[in-house]
Symmetry: C2
Subunit: 229 residues, 2 copies
């Protein structure tokens, strides 16, 4: 046996940044870059270099002092740590506007999350084809989850149907849920959920915009008009 690296606990904050490093490293590899320093990676990721080093140190000591990190090896290690050594098929509940966009977005499958199925309660939508995937009836959910071994479900329903959707996903055997509905999901312990809420994001921006005008009212020389990038 010997090497059992995957056991250590990685801080949440680090886990949320690893995918960003991974994408950048992939791009660098495509451009032929073989080695990269924490300074450079930090610049590309828009973070502090010490943070990059600390983050990577949770994976183990994969850098070379005086040199940097070997891009290909780091890609491999991050992928392994994130569980990206195999595909994770996902099932989408809700074939409305958003569900359609998600199903039609190829980047999903390309990044290791193929759409195993999309289901909807609306009989009018069942049978239509979105992004190469046929919309199926909601009661086919357990069958899809089991036959395709799906562990990640996506809730793309209206708010009013989201809790029901989540419960159906859990009953079908899904253990992680990505929720696009503006609702706090109630799920059993052990089920991982993450939420993407567009209204929340916009309202956070609104807060800063509002602050800008309220706070700076009268303060001369506000935001620069010319782009520096």
């Amino acid at each position: 046996m010997g090497t059992e690296r995957t056991r250590r606990r990685i801080p949440d904050a680090t886990v949320s940044r690893l995918p960003v490093y991974l994408r950048i490293l992939g791009e660098q590899a495509d451009e032929g870059v073989e080695s990269i320093s924490s300074d450079r990676l930090a610049e590309l990721a828009g973070v502090n270099a010490a943070k990059v080093r600390k983050d990577l140190s949770y994976l183990g000591s994969y850098g070379t002092r005086g040199v940097g990190y070997e891009v290909a090896y780091l890609v491999y290690q991050i992928r392994r740590e994130l569980g990206l050594t195999h595909d994770w098929p996902v099932v989408i509940v809700g074939a409305g506007n958003l569900g359609q966009a998600l199903a039609g977005y190829n980047g999903f499958g390309e990044r290791g999350f193929p759409v195993a199925g999309i289901v909807d309660v609306d009989p009018a939508k069942v049978g239509t084809v979105l992004g190469g995937v046929r919309v199926r009836a909601i009661d086919e959910l357990p069958q899809i989850v089991q036959s395709r071994r799906v562990s990640i479900g996506v809730v793309a329903t209206p708010a009013s149907a989201a809790q029901d959707a989540a419960e159906l996903l859990v009953q079908a055997g899904v253990t992680s849920i990505l929720n696009f509905a503006p609702v706090v999901l109630n799920v059993p312990a052990g089920i991982e959920t993450r939420k993407v809420d567009l209204a929340v994001e916009l309202q956070i921006l609104s807060y800063h915009e509002q602050r800008r005008t309220t706070t700076a009212a009268g303060a001369a020389g506000g935001a620069p008009k010319s782009a520096s990038a």
Copy 2:
């Protein structure tokens, strides 16, 4: 003049939760609830009651000891703090899959963020109508931003076009950007950006799924199969 409450700095973590409280309070108001305790609000928001109280305390002392918070008044205060007392028109760059879904999503306008315009570089897309909004050429961006006084832009382009899109938005006068492209945007100081990255979210879930199997391998009685909610 007198009351100048909007001056204090609110922690980022709190700002990101206020929209959640706001939505819940709105729902409660619709159900006829007039008063709510921090305990109840915490339960509905899926957080700790002390956190709710501390969060709300940044707005001022708007509760009544022994009683709770008056729902309508709290809604008013949060809306004011988040700058939601008026609409914030947004402009979307990119009329692909995602841009279309965003433009067609009415919840946007309903929550105070009407789509002032959607632009695309592709001449084939210009002129088509999405969710009641006609797609316009990208060089109309400055005109849209200025005439409609847009300060929030949404980047819904492919990754390769995102940086350009951001620069055009900034040049046009936008000061906040919501970025859906899997790219770290480089913007001048003073421009607020937020990122929504589906791949990152899925990869975080993947990490936990992977951890579940790696860690529990052999440990009996893993995740419960039956939903308790």
